[in-house]
Protein backbone atom coordinates (compact mmCIF):
# COMPACT_ATOMS: atom_id res chain seq x y z
CA UNK A 1 0.00 0.00 0.00
CA UNK A 2 3.03 2.29 0.07
CA UNK A 3 2.14 3.19 -3.51
CA UNK A 4 -1.19 4.72 -2.40
CA UNK A 5 -1.82 8.19 -3.79
CA UNK A 6 -2.32 11.30 -1.71
CA UNK A 7 -6.00 11.38 -2.62
CA UNK A 8 -6.58 7.82 -1.40
CA UNK A 9 -4.63 8.58 1.77
CA UNK A 10 -6.78 11.64 2.47
CA UNK A 11 -9.96 9.58 2.34
CA UNK A 12 -8.42 6.79 4.41
CA UNK A 13 -7.56 9.40 7.02
CA UNK A 14 -11.02 10.92 6.74
CA UNK A 15 -12.61 7.55 7.46
CA UNK A 16 -10.38 6.95 10.48
CA UNK A 17 -11.29 10.41 11.82
CA UNK A 18 -15.06 9.99 11.42
CA UNK A 19 -15.77 7.90 14.57
CA UNK A 20 -14.42 10.70 16.75
CA UNK A 21 -17.49 12.77 15.85
CA UNK A 22 -19.56 10.76 18.32
CA UNK A 23 -17.56 12.21 21.22
CA UNK A 24 -16.63 15.51 19.69
CA UNK A 25 -20.03 16.94 18.77
CA UNK A 26 -21.64 16.66 22.24
CA UNK A 27 -18.39 17.80 23.86
CA UNK A 28 -18.13 20.91 21.70
CA UNK A 29 -21.81 21.66 22.26
CA UNK A 30 -21.28 21.39 26.02
CA UNK A 31 -18.48 23.93 25.75
CA UNK A 32 -20.76 26.29 23.85
CA UNK A 33 -23.47 25.84 26.49
CA UNK A 34 -21.06 26.19 29.45
CA UNK A 35 -19.38 29.29 28.00
CA UNK A 36 -22.75 30.91 27.41
CA UNK A 37 -23.87 29.99 30.94
CA UNK A 38 -20.68 31.59 32.26
CA UNK A 39 -21.64 34.80 30.50
CA UNK A 40 -19.37 34.83 27.45
CA UNK A 41 -20.94 36.42 24.37
CA UNK A 42 -21.07 34.36 21.18
CA UNK A 43 -18.08 36.15 19.61
CA UNK A 44 -15.80 35.33 22.56
CA UNK A 45 -17.02 31.74 22.80
CA UNK A 46 -16.30 31.21 19.10
CA UNK A 47 -12.97 33.03 19.22
CA UNK A 48 -11.81 30.76 22.02
CA UNK A 49 -12.97 27.60 20.29
CA UNK A 50 -11.35 28.57 16.95
CA UNK A 51 -8.05 29.81 18.41
CA UNK A 52 -7.55 27.09 20.98
CA UNK A 53 -9.31 23.94 19.58
CA UNK A 54 -8.57 22.01 22.76
CA UNK A 55 -11.66 21.17 24.76
CA UNK A 56 -10.10 20.36 28.13
CA UNK A 57 -8.04 23.58 28.18
CA UNK A 58 -11.06 25.64 27.11
CA UNK A 59 -13.12 24.15 29.94
CA UNK A 60 -10.25 24.71 32.40
CA UNK A 61 -9.94 28.38 31.45
CA UNK A 62 -13.68 28.83 31.69
CA UNK A 63 -13.88 27.26 35.16
CA UNK A 64 -11.17 29.57 36.50
CA UNK A 65 -12.63 32.62 34.76
CA UNK A 66 -15.95 31.91 36.49
CA UNK A 67 -14.07 32.13 39.80
CA UNK A 68 -12.45 35.40 38.70
CA UNK A 69 -9.01 33.88 39.18
CA UNK A 70 -6.00 36.07 38.34
CA UNK A 71 -5.23 36.13 34.59
CA UNK A 72 -1.84 34.48 35.03
CA UNK A 73 -3.42 31.55 36.90
CA UNK A 74 -6.08 31.13 34.20
CA UNK A 75 -3.40 31.04 31.50
CA UNK A 76 -0.92 28.81 33.35
CA UNK A 77 -3.55 26.25 34.34
CA UNK A 78 -5.19 26.05 30.91
CA UNK A 79 -1.85 25.89 29.09
CA UNK A 80 -0.64 23.20 31.49
CA UNK A 81 -3.57 21.07 30.34
CA UNK A 82 -2.26 21.49 26.77
CA UNK A 83 1.34 20.56 27.52
CA UNK A 84 0.67 17.03 26.33
CA UNK A 85 0.53 18.48 22.81
CA UNK A 86 4.27 19.13 23.02
CA UNK A 87 4.59 15.34 23.03
CA UNK A 88 2.43 15.08 19.91
CA UNK A 89 4.52 17.79 18.28
CA UNK A 90 7.64 15.79 19.07
CA UNK A 91 5.99 12.66 17.66
CA UNK A 92 5.03 14.38 14.39
CA UNK A 93 8.40 16.02 13.75
CA UNK A 94 9.79 12.60 12.80
CA UNK A 95 7.30 12.41 9.93
CA UNK A 96 6.87 16.05 8.91
CA UNK A 97 10.17 17.71 9.85
CA UNK A 98 11.09 18.08 6.16
CA UNK A 99 8.03 20.19 5.23
CA UNK A 100 8.37 23.96 4.69
CA UNK A 101 7.81 25.96 7.85
CA UNK A 102 4.43 27.41 6.83
CA UNK A 103 3.06 23.91 6.28
CA UNK A 104 4.44 22.81 9.64
CA UNK A 105 2.73 25.84 11.23
CA UNK A 106 -0.65 24.84 9.77
CA UNK A 107 -0.05 21.27 10.86
CA UNK A 108 0.79 22.47 14.38
CA UNK A 109 -2.42 24.47 14.64
CA UNK A 110 -4.29 21.28 13.71
CA UNK A 111 -2.74 19.01 16.34
CA UNK A 112 -5.51 17.37 18.38
CA UNK A 113 -5.51 14.16 20.41
CA UNK A 114 -7.61 12.14 17.98
CA UNK A 115 -5.76 13.01 14.76
CA UNK A 116 -2.42 12.41 16.42
CA UNK A 117 -3.47 9.02 17.75
CA UNK A 118 -4.91 7.88 14.40
CA UNK A 119 -1.90 9.11 12.39
CA UNK A 120 0.78 7.80 14.74
CA UNK A 121 -0.85 4.37 14.58
CA UNK A 122 -1.04 4.42 10.77
CA UNK A 123 2.52 5.69 10.21
CA UNK A 124 3.81 2.99 12.53
CA UNK A 125 1.97 0.27 10.59
CA UNK A 126 3.39 1.50 7.26
CA UNK A 127 6.84 2.99 7.81
CA UNK A 128 7.62 3.48 4.11
CA UNK A 129 4.98 6.12 3.30
CA UNK A 130 6.06 9.20 1.32
CA UNK A 131 5.75 12.52 3.15
CA UNK A 132 3.00 13.76 0.80
CA UNK A 133 0.94 10.66 1.48
CA UNK A 134 1.42 11.07 5.24
CA UNK A 135 0.38 14.71 5.04
CA UNK A 136 -2.74 13.81 3.06
CA UNK A 137 -3.62 11.15 5.63
CA UNK A 138 -3.16 13.59 8.50
CA UNK A 139 -5.27 16.26 6.82
CA UNK A 140 -7.87 13.55 6.21
CA UNK A 141 -8.10 12.63 9.90
CA UNK A 142 -8.32 16.27 10.97
CA UNK A 143 -11.01 17.33 8.49
CA UNK A 144 -13.96 15.61 10.24
CA UNK A 145 -12.63 16.92 13.58
CA UNK A 146 -12.04 20.66 13.39
CA UNK A 147 -14.96 21.91 11.28
CA UNK A 148 -17.60 20.03 13.32
CA UNK A 149 -15.81 21.31 16.45
CA UNK A 150 -16.51 24.93 15.46
CA UNK A 151 -20.07 24.23 14.31
CA UNK A 152 -21.09 22.24 17.38
CA UNK A 153 -19.68 24.92 19.72
CA UNK A 154 -21.71 27.54 17.88
CA UNK A 155 -24.83 25.38 18.13
CA UNK A 156 -24.28 24.84 21.88
CA UNK A 157 -23.78 28.57 22.45
CA UNK A 158 -26.96 29.47 20.56
CA UNK A 159 -29.05 26.73 22.21
CA UNK A 160 -27.51 27.35 25.65
CA UNK A 161 -28.91 30.86 25.81
CA UNK A 162 -32.43 29.41 25.91
CA UNK A 163 -31.98 26.88 28.72
CA UNK A 164 -33.44 27.99 32.10
CA UNK A 165 -31.30 27.78 35.32
CA UNK A 166 -33.38 24.90 36.81
CA UNK A 167 -31.44 22.58 34.54
CA UNK A 168 -28.31 23.06 36.70
CA UNK A 169 -26.17 23.50 33.60
CA UNK A 170 -23.48 25.05 35.78
CA UNK A 171 -22.68 21.44 36.54
CA UNK A 172 -22.20 20.42 32.90
CA UNK A 173 -18.61 21.60 33.24
CA UNK A 174 -17.54 19.49 36.26
CA UNK A 175 -19.32 16.44 34.83
CA UNK A 176 -17.53 16.84 31.49
CA UNK A 177 -14.17 17.13 33.23
CA UNK A 178 -14.77 14.00 35.30
CA UNK A 179 -15.94 12.14 32.21
CA UNK A 180 -12.74 13.16 30.38
CA UNK A 181 -10.41 12.12 33.17
CA UNK A 182 -12.06 8.93 34.48
CA UNK A 183 -11.18 6.85 31.37
CA UNK A 184 -7.55 7.99 31.70
CA UNK A 185 -7.21 6.46 35.19
CA UNK A 186 -5.91 3.19 33.77
CA UNK A 187 -2.52 2.89 35.47
CA UNK A 188 -1.50 3.28 39.13
CA UNK A 189 0.60 6.28 38.07
CA UNK A 190 -2.41 8.09 36.59
CA UNK A 191 -4.50 7.28 39.68
CA UNK A 192 -1.73 8.57 41.96
CA UNK A 193 -1.42 11.81 40.01
CA UNK A 194 -5.18 12.39 40.08
CA UNK A 195 -5.36 11.56 43.81
CA UNK A 196 -2.54 13.92 44.76
CA UNK A 197 -4.10 16.62 42.59
CA UNK A 198 -7.50 16.37 44.31
CA UNK A 199 -6.17 16.16 47.88
CA UNK A 200 -3.72 19.05 47.51
CA UNK A 201 -6.12 21.27 45.55
CA UNK A 202 -8.73 20.90 48.31
CA UNK A 203 -6.18 21.17 51.11
CA UNK A 204 -4.51 24.24 49.60
CA UNK A 205 -7.74 25.98 48.54
CA UNK A 206 -6.97 28.64 51.18
CA UNK A 207 -3.88 29.83 49.27
CA UNK A 208 -4.46 33.17 47.55
CA UNK A 209 -5.10 33.62 43.78
CA UNK A 210 -5.80 29.92 43.14
CA UNK A 211 -2.09 29.19 43.46
CA UNK A 212 -3.04 26.03 45.38
CA UNK A 213 -4.05 24.47 42.05
CA UNK A 214 -0.62 25.09 40.52
CA UNK A 215 1.15 23.58 43.53
CA UNK A 216 -1.24 20.61 43.45
CA UNK A 217 -0.69 20.08 39.71
CA UNK A 218 3.11 20.18 39.98
CA UNK A 219 3.11 17.75 42.91
CA UNK A 220 0.67 15.50 41.03
CA UNK A 221 2.90 15.37 37.92
CA UNK A 222 5.84 14.41 40.09
CA UNK A 223 3.73 11.76 41.85
CA UNK A 224 2.70 10.26 38.50
CA UNK A 225 6.27 10.20 37.20
CA UNK A 226 7.55 8.72 40.47
CA UNK A 227 4.95 5.91 40.55
CA UNK A 228 5.73 5.15 36.89
CA UNK A 229 9.39 4.72 37.80
CA UNK A 230 8.56 2.39 40.69
CA UNK A 231 6.29 0.35 38.45
CA UNK A 232 8.94 0.17 35.75
CA UNK A 233 11.40 -1.22 38.27
CA UNK A 234 8.85 -3.70 39.61
CA UNK A 235 8.49 -5.35 36.19
CA UNK A 236 11.36 -4.44 33.88
Amino acid sequence: MSSSTAKEAFWQGFRSGLPFLIVLIPFAMLFGIAATEAGLPLAQTMAMTVLVIAGAAQFAALALMEENAPILIVLLSALAVNLRMAMYSAGLVVHFGALPVWQRAILAYLIVDQAYAASAQRFEQEPGLRIGVKLAFYMGTITPVFLPWYLATWLGAVVGQRIPPEFALDFALPITFIALIAPMLRTPAHVAAAGVSVVLALGLAWLPWNTGLLVAALAAMMAGARVELWQGRARP
Partner: protein, 108 residues
Protein backbone atom coordinates in the same frame (compact mmCIF):
# COMPACT_ATOMS: atom_id res chain seq x y z
CA UNK B 1 -17.33 36.61 35.91
CA UNK B 2 -16.30 40.19 36.54
CA UNK B 3 -13.43 40.67 34.07
CA UNK B 4 -13.65 43.55 31.64
CA UNK B 5 -14.35 42.74 28.02
CA UNK B 6 -10.78 43.65 27.08
CA UNK B 7 -9.40 41.29 29.75
CA UNK B 8 -11.46 38.40 28.41
CA UNK B 9 -10.23 39.09 24.88
CA UNK B 10 -6.67 39.18 26.21
CA UNK B 11 -7.13 35.80 27.94
CA UNK B 12 -8.58 34.29 24.75
CA UNK B 13 -5.76 35.67 22.61
CA UNK B 14 -3.03 34.59 25.01
CA UNK B 15 -4.52 31.10 25.28
CA UNK B 16 -4.62 30.86 21.49
CA UNK B 17 -1.01 31.99 21.08
CA UNK B 18 0.24 29.86 24.00
CA UNK B 19 -1.54 26.74 22.76
CA UNK B 20 -0.17 27.28 19.26
CA UNK B 21 3.37 27.64 20.59
CA UNK B 22 3.02 24.37 22.53
CA UNK B 23 1.78 22.64 19.37
CA UNK B 24 4.48 24.26 17.22
CA UNK B 25 7.26 23.62 19.77
CA UNK B 26 8.97 20.60 18.24
CA UNK B 27 7.56 20.86 14.73
CA UNK B 28 8.70 24.43 14.32
CA UNK B 29 11.29 25.48 16.79
CA UNK B 30 13.03 22.64 18.52
CA UNK B 31 13.23 20.19 15.65
CA UNK B 32 14.11 16.55 15.67
CA UNK B 33 16.06 16.37 18.89
CA UNK B 34 15.11 13.74 21.48
CA UNK B 35 13.52 15.01 24.68
CA UNK B 36 15.00 13.77 27.95
CA UNK B 37 13.11 10.82 29.40
CA UNK B 38 12.29 12.60 32.65
CA UNK B 39 10.55 15.44 30.79
CA UNK B 40 8.40 13.03 28.79
CA UNK B 41 7.60 11.13 31.98
CA UNK B 42 6.23 14.30 33.60
CA UNK B 43 4.37 15.51 30.49
CA UNK B 44 2.43 12.24 30.39
CA UNK B 45 0.61 13.24 33.60
CA UNK B 46 -0.20 16.90 32.92
CA UNK B 47 -3.90 16.33 32.19
CA UNK B 48 -4.54 14.03 35.18
CA UNK B 49 -2.52 16.41 37.37
CA UNK B 50 -4.40 19.60 36.53
CA UNK B 51 -8.01 18.64 35.86
CA UNK B 52 -8.88 16.63 39.02
CA UNK B 53 -7.56 19.46 41.22
CA UNK B 54 -9.55 21.96 39.19
CA UNK B 55 -12.78 19.99 39.39
CA UNK B 56 -12.70 18.82 43.04
CA UNK B 57 -13.62 22.21 44.58
CA UNK B 58 -16.36 22.70 41.94
CA UNK B 59 -17.91 19.39 43.03
CA UNK B 60 -17.55 19.88 46.79
CA UNK B 61 -18.32 23.60 46.92
CA UNK B 62 -20.45 24.46 43.85
CA UNK B 63 -20.82 28.17 43.09
CA UNK B 64 -24.51 27.77 42.21
CA UNK B 65 -25.34 26.74 45.81
CA UNK B 66 -23.16 29.43 47.39
CA UNK B 67 -20.37 26.94 48.14
CA UNK B 68 -22.50 24.52 50.17
CA UNK B 69 -22.10 20.78 49.30
CA UNK B 70 -25.22 19.49 47.58
CA UNK B 71 -26.28 15.80 47.28
CA UNK B 72 -27.40 15.70 43.63
CA UNK B 73 -24.13 17.27 42.45
CA UNK B 74 -22.00 14.96 44.64
CA UNK B 75 -23.84 11.86 43.41
CA UNK B 76 -23.70 13.04 39.79
CA UNK B 77 -19.93 13.48 40.07
CA UNK B 78 -19.63 10.00 41.61
CA UNK B 79 -21.71 8.47 38.82
CA UNK B 80 -19.67 10.14 36.07
CA UNK B 81 -16.43 8.97 37.71
CA UNK B 82 -17.61 5.38 38.20
CA UNK B 83 -19.07 4.98 34.71
CA UNK B 84 -16.08 6.68 33.08
CA UNK B 85 -13.57 4.51 34.93
CA UNK B 86 -15.48 1.28 34.24
CA UNK B 87 -16.52 1.82 30.60
CA UNK B 88 -13.59 4.06 29.47
CA UNK B 89 -16.29 5.93 27.58
CA UNK B 90 -16.50 9.70 27.96
CA UNK B 91 -19.98 10.11 26.51
CA UNK B 92 -21.40 7.31 28.70
CA UNK B 93 -19.85 9.05 31.73
CA UNK B 94 -21.36 12.44 30.81
CA UNK B 95 -24.78 10.84 30.34
CA UNK B 96 -24.53 8.98 33.69
CA UNK B 97 -23.61 12.24 35.44
CA UNK B 98 -26.42 14.27 33.87
CA UNK B 99 -29.07 11.58 34.41
CA UNK B 100 -28.01 11.22 38.08
CA UNK B 101 -28.01 14.99 38.56
CA UNK B 102 -31.58 15.31 37.28
CA UNK B 103 -32.96 12.16 38.95
CA UNK B 104 -31.58 13.00 42.39
CA UNK B 105 -32.44 16.69 42.02
CA UNK B 106 -36.00 15.74 41.10
CA UNK B 107 -36.35 13.09 43.86
CA UNK B 108 -35.23 15.50 46.61
Amino acid sequence: MTYSDATIWFIIGALGVGTFLIRFSFLGLIGDRPMPQWVLRHLRYTAVAVIPGLVAPLVLWPGATGGVPEPSRLLAAGAALAVGALTRNTIAAILAGIVTLYLVGWAL
